[in-house]
Amino acid sequence: MHILSRTQQIGASVFGLTLSSIAQAHSFGEPYTLPMPYWMYIYGAIAALVLSFLILGFFYRAEQASRPHKQWPIGHPRLFKFARAIKLSTLLKSIVLLSFGLAIVSGLIGNQDRYRNFNMTFFWISFALGASYLSAAFGNWYQYLNPWRVMLAPLKRFSQGRQTYPSQLAYWPAVGLYMAFICLELFGNTKPFSLSLILISYTIINTLAVWRYGSQNWFKYGELFSVMFQLIAKMAPLHYQPSAEGKYKLQLRMPFSGLLEQRVEHGSLLVFLLFMLSSTAYDGLRETSLWFNLFWKDPLHILEPLLGEHPLYAYLSLRPWYIGFETVCLLLSPFLYLGLFRLFLWLGKLITQTKLSVSELALRFGYSLLPIALVYHITHYYTLLLSQGLKIRGLISDPFGWGWNLFGTAISGRLPVLPDMGFIWNSQVWLILIGHVASVYLAHAEALRSFPSQRQASLSQLPMLLLMVIFTGAGLWILAQPLQG
């Protein structure tokens, strides 16, 4: 039975403006997730608190923390022999390199519809999201298949570098590039053509930097995806490394255990890591009605007296200011998180009377925030991999959007895979709780190593627990907020 709800004439020119463009959130692809029901957010926040204290109560012995974490070698030698026989590494390198080449060409000459051209889905979804999650599952694969590294590898003399890498630069180039990348993602409104130009520019930047500082250094400190995927790979249950005799070794380990006994190398890497967390939170926040209205509805009456009219009416002149305001908030966000992190570490220092400086504590405890950052990223974006990422199958058949059907898989009206909303909400809560538990556990293990007594270690964790509950709670809260249209 149908009930006719309303017939609406949705009017044009409400304010004579294109407000739609304010609401358009990403450069490409919108997650289709609905706000989480409020009770689930409350549940998640309380559960995080309860679990934190359980961990504190149960895993308190110093000998547990100093025990080396287990690793199990896997993979039969025959498997590696087979991989070598079919030249697996060369094959994979060629696929990655060719995909990037195709992405650049298809953007330059192909259809400019963002959903018809191969390059938007390939770069923003398959690579930026998919490759992150591949790193979380399969470890440090990117170190071997990085297309820019592969591209420059044959030029041995060129990639040696002309000067030693300045130590004060540390990971700052990667932080800068990461910030530029997120700005493009959120405000860039890229089209296939501009994306190709961006990829070409990024290739030039990498080539020049490798020429100057050498492949080894640039792909450790500067290239943003190397730094990001290397951080994520530390949490993977698989780790791959060449043994002393030059043979390859594949190790299985507990998820997140790669972060145990690790100290963040430099403050810049800590900022990078915090930006992973803060940029995701910020992306979630700016899609909510709350954030949108904070500026455009002017609840504190700051803008109206300045402008002489309601901000919505001054939309055209205010829009660049709004983008500026959002960019500033985004770029400040990791430093806000850093301030919070240091504040809570300082509280821990007060309680424990430790001689370690706040900066040293920040580096020692920094990695314990990574699981929260990872699960938060996954809960925000994984549905995009399903709704948009899987379309890469069809796009490969028609990369330029010219109506080809090379492999018989071209877009044929096949619907994307969209899991049930109940499943999505549940997975969000549980993933966030798993990340929270991992973070609390890692921080506690670090405390047992850093502080002389168990009592001190447990006490030091009270402020840290509070901070992690705040991060987790805030993350869930954002997921439960109504979104702007």
């Binding site: 294109t18 407000l19 289709y32 009770w39 549940y43 619907l415 969209l418």
Partner: protein, 120 residues
């Protein structure tokens, strides 16, 4: 080992109890009624995106009139339609998939609406 088991047991008990405590009791299903929503969009270069809330199973009827040729794309059900200038385009769909789905005009880059399809 015993330690870990006790931890897992306590955690499961607390999480389960809390879940039962907080989960709202589910409403008995209301007789299967679906709603028909009709929307009429007129686009002449300026537009404010609408947030339209419907319930899973509802039917949505849409008429769109634009002053220029364009490509219409409804995400989620992945409908691509061509709009000719000044010719009304009519189509309808059943909102069978919960989620948020944008209705966009690709050539002019205008987002007409976001459909929020809530589960029952």
């Amino acid at each position: 080992m015993r330690h870990k088991l006790v931890f897992i047991g306590c955690a499961a008990l607390l999480l389960g109890g809390l879940w039962l405590l907080l989960k709202p009791s589910s409403q008995p299903a209301i007789a299967a009624t679906t709603t028909l929503h009709e929307y009429n969009f007129v686009v002449n270069g300026h537009y404010e995106s609408q947030r339209i809330r419907v319930t899973q199973g509802d039917t949505v009827k849409i008429e769109i009139r634009s002053t220029q040729n364009d490509q219409l794309h409804l995400h989620g059900i992945d409908k691509h339609l061509h709009i000719a200038a000044d010719t009304p385009l009519n189509f309808e769909f059943v909102a069978s998939q919960p989620g948020r789905f944008a209705l966009e005009l690709h050539d002019s880059g205008i987002q007409l609406a976001t459909f929020e399809v809530y589960p029952h």
